[in-house]
């Protein structure tokens, strides 16, 4: 059984799955964009088309799915009701409308007032979603490690969106001094390490033991690992912004990686003690995400070691680092969706019927076989894109983007099919 994913306190099923559907439909768009023009991953950093691709992934795929999942998980893990369902719908509409404008402006390289408006809409959507969830947290009676990290993640989301908006406004009406690249790095890391890192730690702490029937990693040690990650992150920020000496950045990077490594080791220990030895496709994705994260850390270390790489390789390694960080999150989300979504659909459709009539199991409503077939495609596509980035080779990038487009469209079809599955007698 997957305990703890459904409850009377949860918001309407439609709100949660609409977030999932939006994200699933937008992921193939990322690969379609890179098929049209692979240069964002073979050129330099900070190109306008790279910004388009990054934000379609971040605001189109990651944000809707993570926020939709939080709407479901927060009531369950923390025992509180979502403050406003209406605000949940409004936030999604704002993020998607804002994203459409941001992606179009970034793609065309037009830093006009339209970009400022679009970014304001997207940021307003993220603020609304985060504050809606934070308002629910006021009523929490007992906090767990997972709950605290979810709260922390929302604060990081607010900060990342706020700084993203400031950077977008700066592109339209420049006001940051020449050091705006340091703010850019802070923004990207607030989002990718602060927001997503805490979501990942908070969610896996509860969900991995549930899925595998293993013990939860000890809360104290997990909290220590998280403190190392966030402490390291703030040291990095301080070094980038010139508040702390340059060397403290290296200490920060080491602390961050040590924290992430410690947390991963705690998860691995829980995983090793699991009752359920079978490793299904969802869990394979989780393991692949762990491998991508490890590769991202190694590549980041190589890129920041002074004199280790020439300037061209520093750029390629930095792109590969970003790709692997995003890859970690995307693969983890897909793996978690394979586990969570069939269960939610099951609960919505059949919970009332248990004991009254035979009900299907989650395996009956979700094709594990199709998911298993898609998995090697994910890995192959990801590796081809990674080698394309390292070689600066557009043909490889296009080949990888084609594979990932097909595989992600297949994933969307599989999961949306599970959501919209109709049984005989279904109303």
């Amino acid at each position: 059984m997957i305990p703890g994913l459904a409850t009377q306190l949860a918001p309407p099923f439609r709100l949660v799955v609409t977030h999932f559907i939006a994200g699933l439909l937008l992921l193939p768009v990322v690969w379609a964009l890179l098929l049209v023009d692979p240069s964002p991953l073979s050129g330099g950093l900070f190109g306008n088309r790279l910004l388009a691709v990054v934000h379609v992934t971040a605001l189109g795929f990651i944000a809707p799915i993570v926020i939709g999942a939080l709407y479901q998980i927060v009531p369950v893990v923390l025992g509180v009701r979502l403050t406003s369902v209406k605000a949940g719908w409004t936030a999604l509409a704002l993020v998607l409308a804002g994203l459409a404008g941001m992606a179009a402006h970034f793609w065309m390289g037009r830093f006009s007032p339209g970009l400022a408006i679009a970014s304001t809409l997207a940021a307003a959507g993220l603020f609304l979603a985060a504050s809606n969830l934070i308002a629910s947290l006021r009523f929490v009676k007992s906090w767990s490690f997972g709950g605290v990290l979810i709260a922390v993640s929302l604060v990081f989301l607010l900060a990342a969106a706020g700084l993203g908006l400031a950077l977008a406004l700066n592109l339209v009406f420049p006001y940051f001094s020449s050091d705006h690249v340091s703010w850019l790095k802070v923004h990207a890391h607030l989002a990718l390490v602060g927001w997503l890192g805490s979501v990942v730690m908070g969610a896996t702490h509860k969900l991995i033991p549930m899925f595998t029937l293993g013990p939860e990693p000890p809360s104290r040690a997990s909290a220590g690992a998280a403190a190392l990650v966030f402490g390291g992150l703030f040291l990095l920020f301080a070094a980038w912004r010139g508040i702390a000496p340059h060397e403290s950045g290296s200490v920060g990077a080491v602390a961050l990686i040590a924290g992430a490594g410690t947390y991963a080791a705690l998860l691995v220990r829980s995983f090793a003690k699991r009752a359920r030895k079978e490793i299904d496709t969802g869990l394979r994705h989780v393991l692949a995400a762990g491998a991508a994260l490890l590769a991202a850390c190694l590549i980041a270390l190589a890129a920041v070691l002074p004199g280790f790489l020439g300037p061209l390789w520093v750029v390629r390694f930095s792109l590969a680092y970003g790709f692997l960080l995003f890859g970690t999150v995307v693969v983890l989300i897909i793996g978690m969706l394979y586990k969570i979504l069939p269960f939610l659909v099951w609960y919505h459709r059949y919970a009332d019927k248990v004991g009254l009539e035979p009900v299907p199991t989650t395996r009956d409503i979700f094709s594990e076989g199709t998911a298993r077939l898609l998995f090697p495609g994910h890995i192959t596509g990801g590796l081809v894109v990674l080698f394309g980035i390292l070689a600066g080779e557009p043909i490889l990038l296009r080949a990888g983007a084609t594979i990932l487009f097909i595989v992600n469209a297949g994933t969307a079809r599989l999961l949306i099919g599970t959501i919209s599955r109709r049984d005989d007698g279904d109303s």
Binding site: P3, G4, L356
Partner: protein, 98 residues
């Protein structure tokens, strides 16, 4: 009056939706007491704090109450002794790859 074996057989109809095995073979049913038309079921779950408990407890009540001669069902969820994989039937353990 229903027999303990009949109650156990009825409980085999309640399937954990994700693992795909019934509560009896998963080792989650600790005890069954039958007294006239009253049946008591003592059971556990693999993890505490699970809202799915409600669904499965309701399922247990329903299948037992549907037995002829049963008019009252009392389901007690306990955490001691804590459930462990060794409590599963061999067939389930094998199916789960242990």
């Amino acid at each position: 009056m229903a027999t303990v074996d009949e109650v156990r057989a009825a409980l085999r109809q309640v399937i954990d939706p994700e693992i795909g095995h019934n509560l009896v073979d998963l080792g989650l049913i600790y005890g069954i007491d039958v007294e006239e038309d009253r049946v008591g079921v003592t059971m556990t779950f693999s993890t505490p704090g699970c809202p799915m408990h409600d669904v499965l407890v309701t399922g247990v009540e329903r299948v037992v109450r549907a037995l002829p001669g049963v008019s009252k069902v009392d389901v007690k969820v306990v955490w001691d002794p804590p459930w462990h994989p060794g409590m599963m039937a061999d067939s389930v353990r094998k199916a789960l790859g242990r």
